[in-house]
C-alpha cells in the first residue's frame, strides 16, 4: 500500500513543483525570444509592432467607425485640420489656414502646397472637393448609419434622401468649390462652428482621387442579407493618402504592414514642426490583432509586440512594476454619470434630483475603483475641453442635506428609487460598474433613499433600455470623439432623448436653446461663454449627476519614445521611435 502511495505521490509532487517554479519569484520580463520587434536604436529606422484588439474593418475612412480602422487610417491619411498632439486644440493639417464668411456658411481653406499623395498625384483643391462631393453623393446602403456614421453625425444627410436608409433628410453640407489650385471653399446650408473640430476625425481623411477611381472605392453590391460587399480593392489593398506611412500589405487575423512614406511633407522626431520631408522615424509599422487582453499583455512581456492600447486597470500595476515596460496616460476625455429619467416620479421633482446628487459619495467611488487614475466630475464634459465652467453648482456628499431636501419635497423617508447598472462590461469611464453601483447604493441609503437594484447585460439589453427611456436611475457614460463640447453636452441635451425622459422639453428647453445657438456661433470666445452657461444650467436642472473622468492607459516597452496619447485617440506614429 505504501509503495502504491509513493508511486502516486511522485508524479503529483513533480507537477506541483513545476507549477511552483514557474510562478515563483518576481515578475521580470524575459528578453525577446528572437521574434521581438525591437530593432536598431538611434531614432532612425526600425520596426514597431503594435497590437490592436481586432483587425480594421476597412481602410476607407468615411465608411468605417471603429477605433481599429481609425488607428491605421490615421497613419496613412491626413485631414484638412489636425489636433495639436495630446490635446483637442485644432491646428493646421492639410489646410494651413481657414476663415468663415461673415454669415458663417462659406468656409475658405487655404491648402498646403507641394503635397503629394503616395501614388505621386498632387494634393490640391480639386482633390479636396472630389472627396467631399464623393461623400455627399453616397447612395443606397452607403447611407446607412453603420456605414457612414460620422458623416451623418457632423453633416447629416446626403444629396439624395431615402427615408428608409436611416440618414437624416437635411444636410449641413451644400457644396465644395476649388477657386484655385490651393483654395477650397466649403459651403454649408447653415452656420456652424462645430464642424471644424469634426473635420479632424479620420472619416474626413483626404484620399487620392486617382486611386479612389482606379480601385473602385464606390463599387460593390448589396447581398441578399442587405450587407454591402465592396468589389473594389481601394479599402483593402490600395488606400492612398498623404500621410507619413504607406500601406504595404494586409493579411487578416495576422498582420497589417505599413512602411515609411519617403515623400511625406511633415514632421519627424528630429524636427517636429518643419516642412522637411524627412518623414516618419520608423521604417515599418506593423499592426497585429490580438483580441484577448491577457494575450496582449503577455505578448508585450515577451517582446513579441512593442505596445498595445486599452490596458485593463488590473494590469497597470504589473506593467508599472516592470522596468522594461512603461504606461502612458491618455488624457481623460470621457465622463461617467448617474443618469435620470426626469419624467418618472419622483425624479420629476428637482429637489429629489438634488437630494440624489447630495447622496452620492462620488469622491469615495473615484478614490476606490479608479486605480488612482480618476477624478471627480462636476459637469458633463472633461476639464480639458473649452466651454468647461469652473463655477457650476457643486454637490459634495452630504446625506443630511439629502434628507432635508426630500422632506422639503413633502416625501416620506425612505424614498424608493430603481437604480440600474450594466453587467458584462467595463468601460473607460466605469471600469467596474457593479462596484460603483454598490458604493453609490450604500451612500444613498444613508441619505434617505431605499435603492431597488436592477441590472442587465450591457449590450444590447442595458443600452437598449436606456435608449428607450425605461431606466429611472442608471449608470452610464460617454467617451468623446472630437474636441468640441457639441460632442458631449450637444449629444446629450441638444435634442430631446428618451433616456432623460419623454417630456424633457419643458425642463430642458433653456439648455436646448443655448446649445442650438452655440453650435452656430463662429466667434470662439462667444461660443466658449455659451457652453459655459449651458453647463451651469445643466448642473442646476440636474438631468443626471456626472461623477468621474478617467484616464485610459496605453502600454509600451520602455525603449519606445515619441508616442503622444490623444484624448480622442488620434495618435500619429510618425514621431515614434524604438530604441
Amino acid at each position: 500500500m505504501r509503495g502504491k502511495l509513493l508511486k502516486f505521490a511522485l508524479p503529483c509532487v513533480a507537477f506541483l513543483a513545476l507549477i511552483a517554479a514557474g510562478c515563483g519569484g518576481s515578475d521580470t520580463s524575459s528578453s525577446g525570444t528572437g521574434t521581438s520587434g525591437t530593432e536598431t536604436g538611434g531614432g532612425g529606422g526600425g520596426t514597431l509592432v503594435f497590437a490592436s484588439s481586432a483587425d480594421p474593418v476597412a481602410l476607407d475612412g468615411i465608411l468605417v467607425s471603429d477605433g481599429e480602422s481609425s488607428r491605421v487610417i490615421e497613419q496613412i491619411f491626413e485631414t484638412l485640420v489636425d489636433l495639436k498632439p495630446g490635446t483637442t486644440e485644432v491646428e493646421p493639417g492639410l489646410a494651413e489656414s481657414w476663415e468663415a464668411s461673415s454669415d458663417g456658411t462659406a468656409w475658405t481653406f487655404h491648402l498646403r502646397q507641394g503635397v503629394k499623395f503616395s501614388d505621386g498625384t498632387d494634393f490640391n483643391a480639386d482633390a479636396v472637393c472630389f472627396n467631399f462631393d464623393r461623400w455627399y453623393n453616397f447612395k443606397g446602403s452607403f447611407q446607412n448609419p453603420s456605414a457612414t456614421y460620422y458623416w451623418q453625425t457632423i453633416f447629416g444627410g446626403f444629396s439624395t434622401y431615402n427615408p428608409k436608409s436611416g440618414a437624416p433628410k437635411e444636410s449641413l453640407y451644400k457644396s465644395c468649390e476649388a477657386t484655385d489650385a490651393n483654395t477650397a471653399v466649403i459651403t454649408l446650408t447653415k452656420p456652424s462652428a462645430s464642424f471644424i473640430a469634426g473635420l479632424t476625425l479620420t472619416p474626413f481623411s483626404i484620399g487620392s482621387p486617382k486611386a479612389l477611381q482606379e480601385f473602385k472605392a464606390d463599387e460593390g453590391s448589396v447581398d441578399a442579407d442587405g450587407i454591402f460587399h465592396p468589389t473594389g480593392t481601394y479599402a483593402t489593398e490600395h488606400p492612398t493618402g498623404t500621410g507619413p506611412f504607406m500601406f504595404e500589405s494586409w493579411s487578416r487575423g495576422d498582420k497589417l504592414v505599413l512602411v515609411r512614406n519617403p515623400n511625406y511633407w511633415g514632421a519627424s522626431s528630429d524636427n517636429p514642426t518643419a516642412f522637411n520631408g524627412t518623414g516618419a522615424s520608423l521604417d515599418q509599422l506593423i499592426f497585429r490583432p490580438i483580441a484577448d487582453n491577457a494575450a496582449r499583455l503577455q505578448a508585450l512581456q515577451t517582446g513579441e509586440i512593442n505596445g498595445y492600447d486599452l490596458v485593463e486597470p488590473q494590469d497597470i500595476p504589473t506593467i508599472q512594476e516592470n522596468t522594461d515596460l512603461q504606461i502612458l496616460d491618455r488624457p481623460a476625455f470621457n465622463v461617467g454619470y448617474v443618469g435620470f429619467n426626469i419624467s418618472m416620479p419622483p425624479l420629476d421633482n428637482p429637489k429629489v434630483r438634488q437630494a440624489i446628487a447630495y447622496g452620492l459619495d462620488r469622491q469615495g467611488v473615484v478614490d476606490s475603483f479608479y486605480a488612482g487614475r480618476g477624478e471627480v466630475a462636476k459637469e458633463f464634459m472633461p476639464p480639458s475641453l473649452f466651454g468647461y465652467a469652473d463655477d457650476v453648482p457643486e454637490y459634495t456628499y452630504d446625506p443630511e442635506k439629502s434628507k432635508q431636501l426630500l422632506q422639503e419635497a413633502g416625501l416620506t423617508l425612505p424614498v424608493t428609487i430603481d437604480f440600474w447598472y450594466p453587467t458584462d462590461v467595463s468601460r473607460p469611464y466605469m471600469p467596474d460598474p457593479k462596484r460603483n453601483f454598490e458604493a453609490f447604493s450604500a451612500s444613498l441609503e444613508k441619505a434617505g433613499f431605499k435603492v431597488v437594484p436592477h441590472s442587465a447585460p450591457w449590450s444590447p439589453d442595458y443600452l437598449g433600455k436606456s435608449d428607450e427611456g425605461q431606466l429611472q436611475v442608471y449608470l452610464l457614460g460617454w467617451t468623446g470623439d472630437f474636441g468640441d463640447p457639441d460632442d458631449f453636452i450637444g449629444v446629450f441635451f441638444q435634442s430631446p432623448q428618451k433616456q432623460w425622459g419623454t417630456d424633457t422639453n419643458d425642463q430642458m428647453k433653456a439648455v436646448q436653446d443655448i446649445l442650438d445657438q452655440a453650435e452656430q456661433e463662429t466667434d470662439e470666445a462667444k461660443r466658449t461663454e455659451l457652453y459655459q452657461e449651458a453647463n451651469r444650467q445643466i448642473m442646476t436642472i440636474l438631468p443626471g449627476v456626472p461623477y468621474a473622468h478617467n484616464k485610459p492607459a496605453i502600454a509600451f516597452q520602455a525603449n519606445v519614445s515619441g508616442y503622444v496619447p490623444s484624448p480622442v485617440d488620434l495618435q500619429s506614429f510618425a514621431t515614434v521611435s524604438v530604441g
Binding site: 508524479p11 513545476l18 517554479a21 525570444t33 474593418v57 446607412n144 448609419p145 494575450a295
Partner: protein, 326 residues
C-alpha cells in the same frame, strides 16, 4: 463498400438541414443583433432600426428563414457583417490555421498518448502506470484556457523559449499560396520560417492536445490490457501485434477527437491569438455576425461528418474481420 460511403454521404443532407435550422434560430434567440454590436454606445433607436431594416431582421422569422434556405440552396453564404468580406473567403483563409493546429495537437496526443498508454499497460501498476494516470487526470480536468495561460506564462514570459501569440513572427515575410504556414515555408524553402511556424505551434498544440492525449493514453492502456489477456496473443506479446488489435477502439477515439479538435479549438485559439476558425466564430458570436456564424457552423458540421466517415472506413483497413456492410 461503395454503397456504404454513398449512404453515409447522403446522410449529410438531413444532418446539415438540422444543423442549419438549429443555428439559424439559436443565434436569433440571443439578445441583440448586429446593430448594437456595430454601433455600441452610439446606437440610437433610429440607427438600430435602419440597420435591422437593411439586413431584413425586422421581418417575421419565417420570412427570414425562407430567404436563408433559398440562399443555401443556391450555395450563397453571404458576407460578414463586420468585415464585409464573403464568408467563404474568410473561411478559406482561416481554416488552414485550424487544420494545422488540430494536426499538431493530434500528433502530440497520438505520439505521446499511445506509447504512454502502451507502457502503462505493460508495466501495469508500476510507476509509469501511475504517472500516466495522474497525467491523464490532470490533462482532462484542467480547463484548456488555464493550461494555455500556464504554458504561456512558464515557457514564453518566464523562460522565453517559445512565442506566445500568433502563427508566425510578424517580422518574417513568406508568401502564403496555401495558407498552411508549414507548407508555405517549405515551398518557399525558408528554413527560418519553418522553424518559426513550428515554434508557434508547440504551446497551442500541447494545450489543445492535452485532453485527447489523456483519453488516448487511457484507452490505449485499457485496450492493450484487454488484448494482452486474450489467449491467442499471450505467446507473442509484442508491440506490433498487440497494438494492431487494440487499434480499433483507439482509432474510434482518435476519430472523435479529431472531430472535436477541428470543430473550433475555440479557447486555445483565443488565448494564443491564433487566427483559425475557432476565434473566427467566437468573434462572430460576440458581434452577432449572423452570416459568419451560420456559414461557419455549417462548414464545421460538414467537416466533422466527413472525418467520422473516414474513421469508419478505416475500420475495414485496420481489421479485415470487420466488413462494412449495409
Amino acid at each position: 463498400m461503395l454503397r456504404f460511403v454513398v449512404r453515409r454521404l447522403l446522410l449529410l443532407i438531413p444532418i446539415l438541414i438540422g444543423v442549419s435550422i438549429l443555428v439559424f434560430f439559436w443565434i436569433r434567440a440571443l439578445p441583440g443583433g448586429p446593430a448594437a454590436a456595430l454601433l455600441g454606445e452610439r446606437a440610437t433607436p433610429e440607427a438600430v432600426a435602419a440597420i435591422e431594416h437593411q439586413y431584413g431582421l425586422d421581418q417575421p422569422i419565417y420570412v427570414q428563414y425562407g430567404k436563408y434556405v433559398k440562399q443555401l440552396a443556391t450555395l450563397q453564404f453571404g458576407n460578414s457583417s463586420v468585415s464585409r468580406q464573403p464568408v467563404t473567403t474568410e473561411f478559406r483563409q482561416r481554416f488552414p490555421a485550424t487544420i494545422e493546429l488540430a494536426f499538431a495537437a493530434g500528433l502530440f496526443a497520438v505520439v505521446f498518448g499511445i506509447p504512454l498508454g502502451f507502457f502503462a499497460a505493460k508495466r501495469y501498476q508500476g510507476v509509469v502506470d501511475h504517472t500516466s494516470l495522474v497525467v491523464s487526470l490532470i490533462g482532462i480536468s484542467t480547463p484548456i484556457f488555464f493550461l494555455a495561460l500556464i504554458l504561456k506564462y512558464v515557457f514564453s514570459v518566464r523562460l522565453g523559449w517559445l512565442p506566445s501569440v500568433g502563427r508566425m513572427s510578424v517580422l518574417i515575410d513568406v508568401p502564403h499560396p496555401t495558407n498552411f504556414y508549414l507548407l508555405d515555408a517549405i515551398l518557399a524553402r525558408n528554413w527560418t520560417a519553418f522553424v518559426d511556424v513550428s515554434k508557434h505551434l508547440i504551446l497551442p498544440a500541447i494545450a489543445l492536445g492535452s485532453i485527447p492525449l489523456a483519453i488516448i493514453a487511457r484507452i490505449t492502456r485499457a485496450s492493450v490490457l484487454d488484448v494482452q489477456n486474450e489467449d491467442y496473443v499471450r505467446r507473442a506479446v509484442d508491440f506490433h501485434h498487440v497494438l494492431r488489435n487494440a487499434m480499433l477502439p483507439i482509432s474510434t477515439i482518435i476519430g472523435l477527437q479529431v472531430g472535436l479538435l477541428l470543430s473550433g479549438a475555440v479557447l486555445t485559439e483565443t488565448v494564443f491569438a491564433f487566427p483559425g476558425i475557432g476565434s473566427w466564430l467566437v468573434d462572430a458570436i460576440k458581434a452577432r455576425n449572423y452570416p459568419v456564424i451560420q456559414g461557419g457552423v455549417l462548414f464545421v458540421a460538414i467537416i466533422v461528418v466527413f472525418v467520422n466517415l473516414l474513421v469508419d472506413l478505416s475500420y475495414g483497413v485496420l481489421n479485415p474481420r470487420i466488413r462494412l456492410s449495409k
